[in-house]
Amino acid sequence: MDSLTQYIRLYDEHAATICAHAPEALNRLRPHALARLAAARFPRKGDKSYPAISIDEMFAPDFGVNINRMAMPVDMTATMHCGVPNISTLLGVVVGDTFRPSASLERNMPEGVTFCSLARAAETHPEIIEKYYGRLASGRNAAADLNTLLAQDGVFIHIAAGTAVDRPLQLINIFNPTAPVMATRRVLVVMEQGADARALVCDHTQERNVPCLSNQVIEIFVGENARFDWYDLEESSDDTARVSQLFVDQQAHSRFSLNGTTLMAGRTRNNYFIDHSGPSCSTRLTGMAIGMADQVVDNFTCVGHHFPESTSEQIFKYILDDQSQGSFYGTVIVDEAARFTDARQTNRNILASADARMYTRPRLEINCDEVKCSHGATVGQLDANALFYMRSRGIPEAEAKMMLMQAFMSDVIDTVEIDALRTRLHQLVERRLSGEAARCADCKI
């Protein structure tokens, strides 16, 4: 049996329990998801756009699912601090798949900001949930539909029209597994017209040699003239598998920016789907990955330009060592109506060992003549001339290599507009490249 079937069976057996512990707005979508899943299967390695990773295999282990919403044994949120120095955030924590606000979140919540669980939002903002939940993710693929089938709660972020939020919102996703577990993580972000906010998401796993899987769906609506930045930092463990899908709908004159960083992971597949629903949108997707041992990091992007005068920029960089594998499949679609589109895409990769492997494929589908589109992909080694130049000045080879690798990543890191996070990322990348587990000190839970 393929790995999807076990989850459908799980649902069939426990549908009543699942629904009993979830808001009606989430339950309503399950039958549709179930119907679609009957004919679906997970992509396997070698399938179209899956050169390095098998979603089917990632879901195959006999994971436990917390359908009874068992409370976590210890309330870590009380002692949770982010290790990024000089950062002050509005903090929420997701343990497994359960959202817990930090002790100070309610108190510090600015006017116009809602940051809470989906279950709670179903009571406080029913019309918003009704309008937006599942709208972008439904029917997109098997993992997204499975998420909709099993999601019982999640995270809700709503920024009211015209509200600019100074402090970043921060979400820390934690795995603290005692037995193999799959978490269905769900996030809904609604940025009303003219709203302006940034969110930082950190994925951590406590090292216990217990396999865990997160199947995450994030739906983001960026209203007219709104601006939203999403910083996603994965720093999990060898035993963590992650399928994370971000769906973004951008209205006219909106700006969306993503930084997706994979510092430490087992197997990771990130899908980024961005669609413009009005003219003059700006989209920036940046990402970087450092792969070691037999880790696999796979990013897939698809930016749909459907209206005129929008820009999109994609920069993804990988450094792969040992037997690690990376993949970047980047798609830009420019519709006939999307005149004066300016779309750029860059993917640069360094293979630091002979056994590392990178798959890269740009795909531009351009159906309009009046556009500027560019793409470029390179796979190579560190610049031998630069390395010798540095060594001739007395910088030891290992240190010179490290400096060059850091430099390679620096333009991606420099796109981060939260100062404290940018500084921290430089440090974390340096630590990670020197072979240390790049853990944010205080997040070691």
Binding site: D383, A384, N385, A386, F388, Y389, M390, R391, S392, R393, G394, I395, P396, E397, E399, A400, M403, L404, Q406, A407, F408, M409, S410, D411
Partner: protein, 256 residues
């Protein structure tokens, strides 16, 4: 032997299977300035690269010592720590690595090699300031990436600035005059002269006599087809300027 800084004997080296240096002998003592001249393709840059440890080249014979230490056994970084400095003909641009971090890494690596404590931030910055003045290097270049966007003259001044910081026993200046206008040439040469002491030495590799008007050599060697075919005093450079390299080529080629 005590006062020999660089001692090269029968040095043979090449790239892939092609032999470029075919037996180099060279002796440099403290306080001396040597010029190595020669037509294009004679092996001048190979010689500097081999001495500095450029991994592109393979040494196939001979030896080279610096103050008695066998250079050929050392990594490029240890050769630098032992007091060898190569000013590159084409200084490498390193986007994303700032001059400050680059120099700090270089200085502290050397101090570590010599069992000294790393410099404090203020000591380091003070040293940078002092050394920059020697070649009139603009402060704003220090915050930029190594050589990135530097003009030709700035790159060469940056080389001499690094030399000033690292205080080598032996500096090899590989075609330092190439791409320089007369003002930049004067500044670069002036920097080299300021750094000259009776304990260190300089090898100037150049195609033209021009640089030697500013950096006066004690000895001039002519390199041709991978060998030093002729050595003399400063007057040899003038003779070359006047007569070109053809008479050297003719003399050597008729012997072969």
């Amino acid at each position: 032997m005590e006062d020999i800084l660089l001692n090269v004997r029968g040095l043979r080296a090449g790239i892939d299977d092609k032999e470029i240096l075919r037996g180099i002998d060279l002796t440099v003592r403290p306080g001396e300035v040597h010029a190595i001249m020669g037509p294009n393709g004679s092996g001048k840059s190979t010689l500097s690269g081999v001495l500095a440890g450029d991994p592109r080249f393979t040494v196939t014979g001979g030896e080279a010592t610096l103050s008695g230490v066998n250079l050929l056994d050392l990594s490029p970084e240890d050769r630098s720590h032992e007091g060898l400095f190569l000013s590159f003909q084409y200084p490498v641009e390193i986007p994303g690595v700032s001059m400050v971090n680059f120099m700090r890494a270089a200085v502290n690596a050397k101090r570590k090699y010599l069992h000294q404590d790393p410099l404090s931030a203020s000591e380091f910055l003070k040293m940078m300031r002092q050394k920059r003045a020697i070649v009139e290097l603009d402060n704003k270049l220090a915050s930029r990436s190594v050589n990135e966007g530097f003009s030709g003259g700035e790159k060469k001044r940056n080389e001499i600035f690094q030399m000033a910081v690292l205080e080598p026993k032996l500096a090899i200046l590989d075609e330092t005059d190439s791409g320089l206008d007369i003002d930049a040439l004067r500044i670069v040469a002036g920097g080299v002269n300021k750094l000259k002491t009776e304990r260190n030495a300089t090898i100037v590799i150049t195609h033209y006599q021009r640089l030697l008007d500013y950096i006066r050599p004690d000895f001039v060697h002519i390199l041709y087809k991978g060998r030093i075919v002729h050595s003399g005093g400063p007057e040899l450079a003038l003779e070359l300027e006047e007569r070109g390299y053809d008479w050297i080529k003719d003399t050597v080629d008729s012997k072969d």
